[in-house]
């Protein structure tokens, strides 16, 4: 299919340039209720994502479309011709396409190299269930996905890159029953290396969280209390900042950040934010050495001690903003701060362990979330709580932000494990 597609693209006279991303995936999946295997599945597919560039009277017409493994030559030709026609509506000011780069094909060590995806899926299941030994709690349902993914990028300038990735994803639901009460906790875990201890620990963590949630009482009314975000919520917090520095969002006015903008003044009493983008990172399933535009990615410092240093984003929008083209990244690294456990002993704060959801408005920075599980610390005393909500605006939290001195890796994020926020409204629990 790919050789036919390339030949047809090369033979199409009206095209000025093109690129093709080919994603071949093999996924082995297991679905469990408790420890019983309910279904096994395998998904074997190849998708072809094509971008055409057509010169249209001093503008570039762009068309993007998808082809399938089963697309015939007749269908490919028809689709290309239709898309060339469509490109006259999708006109952009001229910009340069990536030149040919000799990129050594970088692939991670193949994580499940010696075992089949099917075997790796079963070993993952056994590692999960190794942790499933509590009297009052159990893994109610588990879904396991073991993935081999090959990505190729080929363009009309002669670039031809390839990246192979293997990783696993697990969806877990843990139930805990105690004194006539029953609660459940949901978690999605990903890993790029088959490590039975890591997988077992992930299952154990969710079960322990369920055991905590059952003890929770409704969140009481509290005033002037700091909020500690943990794990995934810390990642979401920093992802908002990372996305604000994406040229695509700035061009579309979803962000108004400028170079050297100061998020935190030097005299602010806070830990300063420093963020780097890193194309390939150990234990991240999102690593890649090139982006969908064919831009070869390098490490990039975007915020240094609270000051904006660089922007990232697509080739086209970066050029429109007259900014250097750095490309699209998935991995980001946030520097640790100074907040230690000792600093918190005398502090009153609400440690958030589980929210119903944590959506941050990309434009305004507003967020509101219901608390599913939290711990209220009052000068060393702790109370497990549920219900109520937190709300605020991310931008109002920078100047008093505290970052933990210990770090964590959550797939494509490496950074502080916890962050302590001020200026957050906490609503009382009701259930």
């Amino acid at each position: 299919m790919i050789s036919n597609l390339i030949k047809i693209l090369k033979d199409t006279e009206k095209l000025d340039a093109w690129n093709v991303k080919v994603v071949t995936k093999d996924v082995y999946e297991l679905y469990f209720i408790k420890q019983n295997l309910e279904m096994n599945r395998e998904v074997v597919t190849t998708d072809y994502y094509v971008t055409l560039f057509v010169n249209q009277n001093n503008k570039i017409g762009i068309a993007k479309f998808k082809l399938f493994s089963s697309s015939s030559n007749e269908e490919i030709t028809k689709k290309i011709n239709e898309q060339i026609e469509n490109s006259k509506y999708s006109l952009y000011d001229k910009f340069s396409l990536p030149k040919k780069v000799d990129l050594k094909n970088v692939s991670k060590d193949v994580s499940f190299g010696n075992i089949s995806l099917k075997d790796a899926a079963f070993l993952t299941a056994d590692a999960l269930f190794e942790a499933d030994k509590f009297k009052n709690g159990y893994l109610n349902s588990s879904e396991i996905f073991i993935i081999n993914e090959e990505t190729k990028f080929i363009d009309s300038n002669g670039n031809n890159f390839q990246y192979v990735n293997q990783y696993g994803e697990v969806e877990l639901v843990a139930t805990w029953e105690e004194k006539g009460k029953e609660v459940e906790v949901y978690r999605y875990v990903d890993f790029d290396d088959f490590n039975s201890i890591f997988i077992q620990k992930a299952a154990e963590d969710i079960l322990l969280e369920a055991s905590q949630r059952i003890k929770a009482v409704p969140l009481p009314e509290i005033n002037n209390c700091k909020v500690m975000l943990t794990k995934e919520y810390v990642k979401t917090y920093f992802k908002y900042i990372v996305d604000k520095l994406k040229n695509d969002n700035i061009y579309q006015k979803k962000s108004n950040y400028n170079i050297q903008d100061i998020l935190q003044d030097s005299d602010d009493k806070c830990d300063f934010i420093s963020i780097k983008l890193n194309p390939i990172m150990k234990d991240s399933t999102k690593g890649r050495s090139f982006d969908d535009d064919g831009i070869v990615l390098k490490r990039l410092n975007i915020i240094d001690k609270g000051i904006v240093k660089n922007f990232w984003g697509s080739n086209m929008y970066s050029q429109y903003l007259n900014r250097p083209v750095h490309g699209n990244y998935e991995n980001f690294v946030v520097s640790a701060g100074s907040l230690s456990a000792n600093d918190l002993i005398e502090e009153t704060y609400l440690e958030i362990l589980a929210l119903s959801d944590f959506d941050i408005d990309m434009v305004t920075g507003d967020f509101k979330s219901e608390i599913r599980l939290a711990i209220l610390y009052t000068k060393g005393e702790k109370q497990i709580v549920t219900g109520g909500f937190i709300s605020g605006n991310i931008n109002d939290t920078f100047k008093t932000l505290r970052l933990s001195n210990d770090t964590i890796q959550l797939n494509n994020y490496v950074g502080p494990k916890n962050i302590l926020l001020d200026n957050i409204t906490i609503g009382k629990g009701t259930n």
Binding site: L37, K64, F122, T425
Partner: protein, 472 residues
Amino acid sequence: MNKTYSRFLEEKYESLVKIVDKLKHKFTYVSLLASDCEGQLINVSNKEVKINDSFWQERGFVVRVFNGTLYSEYAFDDFDNPTSICKKIIESVDVADQLYKAIYVKEAKNILYEEEELTKTFSKMGLYENVSIEEIIKTCQTIINNSMEENEYIISANCKVEYVKVSKLFISNNKNLKQVYSWSNAKYECIVNRDEITKFNFGGESSMSLKEALAKLKESIKHINSDATELLDASSVTPGEYDCITSCQITGLIAHEAFGHGVEMDMFVKNRALGQKYLGKSVGSNLLTMHEGATPINDVASYYFDDEGFLAQDTIVIDKGILLTGICDAISASKLNIKPTGNGRRQSFKNKVYTRMTNTYFTKGVSNLKDMIASIKYGYLIDTEISGMEDPKNFGIQCIALIGKEIVDGKLTGKVVSPLILTGNVIDLLQSVSMVSDDFNLYGTGTCSKGYKEYMKTSVGGPYLKVKVKLG
């Protein structure tokens, strides 16, 4: 996009029948679902036009087999010949060796679901009207230009128009079904700015007909823009319990999150839904009746048969406040010893079937919206869904809405609060419904997930409801 059933599926038909026939020799049950969905997403903003394939475009096959105890599936997007793909399927689904070696994993003892014999071809493409890309772009550009001329605060606006034609073929031991249908979305979003304040608002319409979706969107633009301007002066709501009126969209969101997810019966199998314990009991005001199904209404989730080959239906979930039943896929139904309701759906051929919603809505009542507003001393009219999250295990509800329009002494004051979070207990909320309007609207512009994955087109809706609700 033509109105006919997929040529690709027609061409593959004989080979696909051969695959099923060959596998029947090896397995107790075999089914094959073939999908060919084509569609486009046209995104027009004040700066650019993007024409992309729809997210929902797919082409491929998924085979399900049952070996007497275990259901297995193999999904693929191409094959050389029936013999070679059957060999791959047989190798892939065989896990005897792995089960033998496993320490903890046990094989579930599933039973085979029953299938009635049926051979039929269905089409709803009569409802689809073709509109040229040029016409769509022109309509969107007119909407955007007019909006930006009329409203000085709009700094950015865009329209997204999406249309999809779905062709599906289902072959199994007893069934041979074909269907073709379409759906369309037309959405609008604007960003407004005044001094340091930036806000956004959005809205959209859905239909099986693209022309209808575009026409409905045009009608709603003024309302979206004026709400966006009002949001520039929005304040935060003081947390507490209020008498409120939910818009048709928020009513639909409540139906979807509260008793849509709450009665997905694959959750009953896992003992993950509290709704199971409330069957036959009162869960809301006797003014409330809730339907779920692909057949009673034409919108984005109105198909003839589901992804397991079971005919779609109209399920009355709540009748006058009493929870009657849930919705169910075939495997879960076999475990619960009930009949499937035609709600076994996949995100694409690549994904597993789960029990999923289709069109979920409360039926309209007899009250007039003006009378409902007039009956409120202090409260809000809540509109525009941002998101919702189910909690079927605990009957908790979290719906986030963008706009709360203040009502004082029975009148809208023009003041708004934003955003706001509706919290509390599902049953308390539904029991508090005291008035149901005679309006009805359905919204199919969003997507539904199962947990945090498995995206699906669904529609939600209903009338305006007067409720008591906790707002944050």
